[in-house]
């Protein structure tokens, strides 16, 4: 048995691009070596001669034209480089058990060539000069590798063999719990990473006292996972006593009485026309699309894994939500994805990082790459998103991934039947992601990286694509009764849920493993990616098995659904768990919480260092929340599946910011889906009720702006909050949920699905040893799924033609709290933007009619930066000038001084406003249609290359700036190499 290393370098004379990229990032960290060379390498273990290894390198691993390679044993290669000596060599490889898709594919390809190897691993090598040992260590840890999944060798490779199988000796483990006192119960919960409360532990204790036996370890783990916040949403679906300025309100089930209740009211009022199909029940919400299909939408978060390993966290975050779509009804076909991120500002100084925290720039690059690599490989276009920046996301970034799927009528319901086989499909089970569900419910600390490394994973998108290909064929052939994804909680959660009303018997030793040595508990709770569980009638199994074989997907029967009402697990002959489904799913004691909200008293808006309007506009365009995200968007395939109608980048040079994406899920019809979002974390600090209302309004008006029918917009909620055991934190969440309810009802936009992620706090010790906690700002993401009857009537935000009129639709008020004016000039106070929902929805209906009549040539929503930013974006996206007169702006409120008057009209962030371009000859009919809703002509499109704003027709311009300067301010900040 030999271990060969195949080292692959750029061919002589060709640049080392990896080295160039690393050098650029290393310079940002102040750790740039004088000289750097890189190589990728493969370790091949098996019965191989040197000639064999050379042949494999030549035929498979290295490119004959742009690469060169050398083959030797790692000992012989040592630290040498083919072109001379370097002072140091850093080698990075995955830790044992971490998913390495390239190694796996390579192993299979080498087998096709005729060699059966034992193992393959991949390696990255960095030779460098000019850094001392400490600096090398820092470079390795901060940039080249991630401790949570990768191992670094400084100098020669410390590997002698690759296989890491251990034989597993079965031993049934019981956990004594019946005689524990309170402290011991708490200790067990914490140290066993169960993260259950004392009351919950006591409930479990009482249950087993009654049974007269101790639980097995797997029983305890199963209960912990089923009862985890991540799986059961016990806080928000629990009893809450909420107190605010209006008194105290008691919720039996907070979510049910706010968000769900809104949907119920809307559905009841729609009666026969109800277009919701399945809400808050399945893995995704489902609404009607056309006469053949429904459409499913789900958005998930993957915050804690992304904090530790941004690439893998985001990668598996998107992979997970795609499986939600595949696991909705009998399986929906994923047609597009969304992503919304919250990071600390990427220009934060490197030495300002608390221990255990990755620099936001690295987090952002890793997260974007993770979404890119999963989405692009799956062939699902990523079409819409947003990025918000705030220093409080430093240790706890937020990563929301969404997916939309198409579901044939009739496939929306499912139910496993007694007698159905439990079949696992797709990836094998390893030790990855153990305790992910319970970990995501805990708060992050600077030690999280060490404690929870097992919860961090890398995805294998191609495995999931294969799984999808098989699943959708099996669905169409009717080969199963039910399907669900294996996500948080692994089989424990998937089988537990599917069999909740029946009972299930699982043979854990039948589960296919990545490597030997897993205990029965690890098999049961592993969160290894790319697995789905099916309930298959025995007569369908042979066909399913054959279908899977024809696509190279592994399918295995691991048990049976049985009408016992019990969850029974076996390993070989031994029973390792026997729990009643009733206790598992209904036995959790209700969580009772108190919540409190004290409204902030309103203070006047004061800017510390206000500057001129033009400077303000340029500063807001360049602020990270507003500036162009083209660097991110172009890395995503946003056009695969060929349904793209309105792309994320629009305008004369394909680089303006679209309000929403429009996708045709069926190429043979023009009915379109509209995907948009709203997120306003800056308002959460001011008033979460109005943050929620504003986010819903933003999501809806983004849809309306491109042509969506306001009567067919469904929305999703994703609450990311801090530690909700603190009454004031939970209070702000409840207030947001009430805002969601009221606004959704008034708009008639039903919530169809949602998710919460609590405990988004980061705890660390500062240099004085004091414990510090950074809680994220309350962050509610509203995702919207709209529909458009005829995609040929959609509009984009870029100006189309000189001479056209520009109308402002909607009312402007002095609402500047949380605005971007206040962000860039460090202002305080002011009134929070509110939503006059009744007037807004009426306005949207009229505007929609104008769009359908073809009178609207361009339409852009007013959001961050208000009118000034919207006008600038429309102008530079269309490559046409615009003249605006502020006195015509529909305004409501007290009379203001001249300058204030202009400032409010330009930069207030009042909701429900859009800027619309209309042909001069269509002006009168457009105005007639808009009669009764706030709308006024405030300017016109010009042939010039300038944006010119005047307070009144006679006054001299308060803004007069070249489009090129505006566009450059907007594009420069994130124009990363």
């Amino acid at each position: 048995m030999t271990l060969w290393e195949v080292e692959i370098h750029p061919a002589a004379g060709l640049p080392d691009r990896t080295a160039e990229e690393v050098l650029s990032d290393a310079r940002d960290l102040g750790l740039a070596p004088d000289r750097l060379r890189t190589a990728r390498a493969f370790l091949l273990e098996g019965e191989l001669t040197r000639d064999d290894a050379e042949s494999i390198a030549q035929r498979l691993l290295a490119d004959a034209i742009v690469e060169r390679f050398r083959v030797d044993t790692p000992e012989q290669l040592g630290v040498s480089h083919p072109d001379g000596n370097f002072a140091a060599l850093i080698q990075v490889r995955y830790k044992p058990g971490v998913m390495d898709p390239v190694a796996q594919s390579t192993l299979e390809a080498i087998a096709e060539l005729g060699w059966d190897l034992d193992a393959v691993a991949t390696l990255r090598k960095y030779w460098l000069d000019g850094l001392d040992d400490d600096a090398c260590q820092l470079l390795g840890k901060r940039l080249l590798a991630n401790d949570s999944i990768e191992h670094i060798d400084f100098g020669p490779l410390q590997v002698t063999h690759l296989r890491h199988d251990h034989q597993y000796q079965f031993e049934l483990r019981r956990v004594p719990i019946r005689d524990l006192d309170e402290d011991a119960l708490k200790k067990l919960s914490r140290e066993g990473q169960l993260y259950l409360s004392l009351v919950e532990m006591q409930t479990i204790q009482a249950f087993f006292r009654e049974l007269g036996r101790e639980p097995t370890d797997v029983e305890l783990e199963t209960i912990a996972q089923t009862w985890s916040e991540h799986c059961s949403h016990k806080t928000l679906a629990g009893r809450i006593a909420y107190t605010d300025e209006n008194g105290t309100r008691h919720f039996e089930n907070m979510l049910k009485e706010t968000v769900f209740a809104a949907t119920e009211r809307i559905r009841a009022s729609l009666g026969e026309d109800d277009w919701c199909v399945s809400v808050f029940r399945d893995n995704a919400g489902v609404v009607r699309f056309d006469d053949r299909y429904h459409v499913a939408f789900k958005v998930e978060t993957h915050n804690h894994p992304s904090a530790l390993e941004p690439y893998g966290g985001a990668n598996t975050g998107l992979g997970g939500v795609i499986r939600d779509t595949l696991g909705t009804g009998l399986g929906a076909k994923p047609i597009c994805s969304t992503d919304v991120f919250c990071f600390a500002p990427p220009d934060l100084p490197g030495d300002a990082m608390p221990p255990g925290v990755l620099h936001p720039r690295r987090v952002m690059k890793g997260v974007v790459a993770g979404v890119r690599d999963y989405g692009n490989r799956m062939g699902i276009p990523t079409v819409n998103g947003a990025i918000c920046f705030d220093e409080r996301y430093l240790g706890n970034p937020l990563v929301y991934c969404g997916n939309v799927g198409l579901l044939p009528h009739g496939a929306e319901t499912k139910a496993a039947q007694p007698g159905d086989l439990i079949v696992t499909l797709g990836g094998r089970t390893g030790r990855d992601g153990i305790h992910g569900a319970t970990f995501s419910s805990a708060e992050l600390t600077s030690e999280s990286e060490e404690v929870s490394g097992g919860a961090v994973q890398i995805g294998n998108a191609i495995m999931e694509k294969m799984l999808q290909d098989v699943l959708l064929q099996a669905r169409d052939e009717g080969l199963y009764h039910a399907v669900t994804d294996c996500g948080a909680g692994g089989y424990s959660s998937a089988v537990g849920e599917m069999g909740a009303d029946i009972g299930a018997r699982v043979q854990l030793d039948q589960v296919p493993l990545k490597y030997a040595g897993l205990t029965y508990t690890e098999i049961w709770i592993s969160e290894a990616q790319e697995r789905m569980v099916l309930a298959v009638p025995p007569e369908c199994w042979p066909r399913l098995e054959a279908l899977c074989r024809s696509e190279g997907v592994e399918a295995t029967v691991i048990g049976e659904f049985v009408a016992t009402g019990r969850l029974e697990l076996f390993y070989g002959e031994s029973q390792v768990a026997d729990l009643s489904m009733k206790f598992l799913h209904d036995g959790r004691p209700p969580v009772v919480r108190s919540a409190e909200y004290r409204p902030r008293s309103e203070t006047p808006f004061t800017a510390k260092s206000p500057k001129g309007f033009q400077e303000t506009l340029l500063a807001i365009l360049a602020s990270p929340n507003v500036c162009s995200k083209e660097w991110v968007i172009r890395q995503y395939d946003h056009e695969v599946q060929a349904g793209s109608v309105i792309k994320p980048l629009v305008g004369a040079t394909n680089d303006g910011p679209s309000d929403a994406a429009v996708v045709r899920p069926r190429l043979d019809t023009y009915r379109g889906l509209v995907i948009a979002c709203g997120i306003q974390p800056r308002l959460g600090d001011v008033d979460p009720y109005h943050m929620a209302a504003s986010a819903i309004d933003e999501a809806v008006r983004n849809c309306v702006a491109v042509g969506a029918d306001p009567d067919r917009i469904a929305i999703l909620d994703n609450f990311c909050w801090g530690d909700t055991e603190k009454p004031e934190v939970l209070g702000s969440l409840v207030r947001a949920a009430i805002g969601c309810h009221d606004t959704a009802v008034a708009f008639g936009t039903p919530f169809i699905s949602g998710k919460d992620s609590l405990n988004n706090e980061f705890r660390y010790q500062d240099e004085t040893g004091a414990t510090r906690t950074i809680a994220i700002p309350p962050t509610l993401l509203i995702s919207a799924l709209g529909q458009v009857a005829n995609a040929r009537q959609c509009v984009t935000m870029d100006l189309k033609e000189a001479g056209d009129l520009v109308y402002l639709v909607g009312i402007t008020r002095d609402e500047r709290a949380g605005s971007h004016w206040s962000l860039v000039w460090d202002a305080e106070g002011g009134r929070v933007p509110r939503v006059d929902a009744a007037r807004a929805i009426q306005t949207y209906h009229r505007l929609h009619e104008a769009i359908r009549k073809g009178w609207v040539r361009a339409c852009h929503d007013l959001s961050e930066g208000g009118l000034a930013v919207a006008a600038a974006e429309m102008a530079f996206a269309g490559g046409l000038g615009m003249e605006v007169t502020l006195e015509a702006v529909p305004y409501e409120g007290e009379q203001l001084e001249d300058d204030e008057n202009a400032a409010v009209r330009l930069f207030a962030e009042s909701n429900s406003r859009l800027l619309v371009e209309v042909r001069q000859e269509d002006g009168p009919t457009f105005e007639a249609l808009m009669e009764g809703v706030p709308c006024a002509c405030i300017g016109r499109v010009t042939e010039s290359d300038r944006l010119v704003v005047r307070a009144s027709a006679e006054s001299s311009p308060c803004i007069d700036v070249e489009l090129a300067a505006l566009k450059e301010a907007w594009q420069a900040p994130l124009r990363w190499s």
Binding site: R17, T18, E20, E21, L60, L61, D63, A64, I65, V66, P101, V102, Q104, S105, T106, A109, E112, L113, R372, N376, R377, M378, G379, N460, A461, I462, K465, M466, S550, E551, G552, I633, R634, Q635, Y636, D637, H638, E639, V640, Q641, A642, S644, V645, I646, K647, L649, V650, G651, A652, N654, R664, L667, A791, R792, C794, V795, T796, D798, K800, S977
Partner: protein, 266 residues
Amino acid sequence: MATPRVLVLRAPGTNCDQETAYAFEQAGASSDIRHVFDVRQSPGDLARYQVLCIPGGFSYGDDVAAGRLFALQLEKFLTDALHEFVAQGKLILGICNGFQTLLKAGLLDDPGEGPVATLTWNDRGRYEDRWVHLEVRGDRCVFLRGVKRLYLPIAHAEGKFVARDEKTLARLDAEGRLALRYALPEGGNENVARSEYRKPLPFPINPNGSQADTAGCCDATGRVFGLMPHPERHIDALQHPRWTRGEGNREQQGTALFANAVEHFR
């Protein structure tokens, strides 16, 4: 022959198969989407088709190198059948990952010589999705007959065309095999844009740094053709990025490639 039959061949990770089959059907062909695991068991099935298309995607996740592992499948199981296919005057089209696969399987090479070229990492070092202007050179390529210019999206990380050496590049060029090139928008002045003679056009006109601005390359017969841009993503006016500005030109849609394939057998 009435309706040419197209085999859209997929592998694990192929993901543009459905829209590619749809584009062929819209052009008047009938199409089957089949897995290489299935076809490799009965290579003789290839005889039932007139056109073979390897669509875009990430076959085998681009693991090792884009197209490499799919190419290994073709080399190992279908080499004879594919050579027979070409010898019978039939057509092969590789789009994006399909182009990478054709090139790495040697299907664009000349007999007895090494690989003519490879497709490697974009100069910018990452995946990009953007629309590009394209210009057709010569009339060797059957898929491009009668086409002058195209406007299509690219979406790839490994699309930089690099020939084996200068001599090979010059020969391919002379033979009219570098059939599709990245180009300035109509009316643009190449001499102004190009930094020096024969240097690639600058980014983003040439989005990946390809030698001789090569976006597509055919074999000596002109019947085997691979290209990085996605013609199947521009067969409808609504796919054009600026259709709301009234832009778009039917003649520059990808439709022509599929129609030419159908026409070839009529």
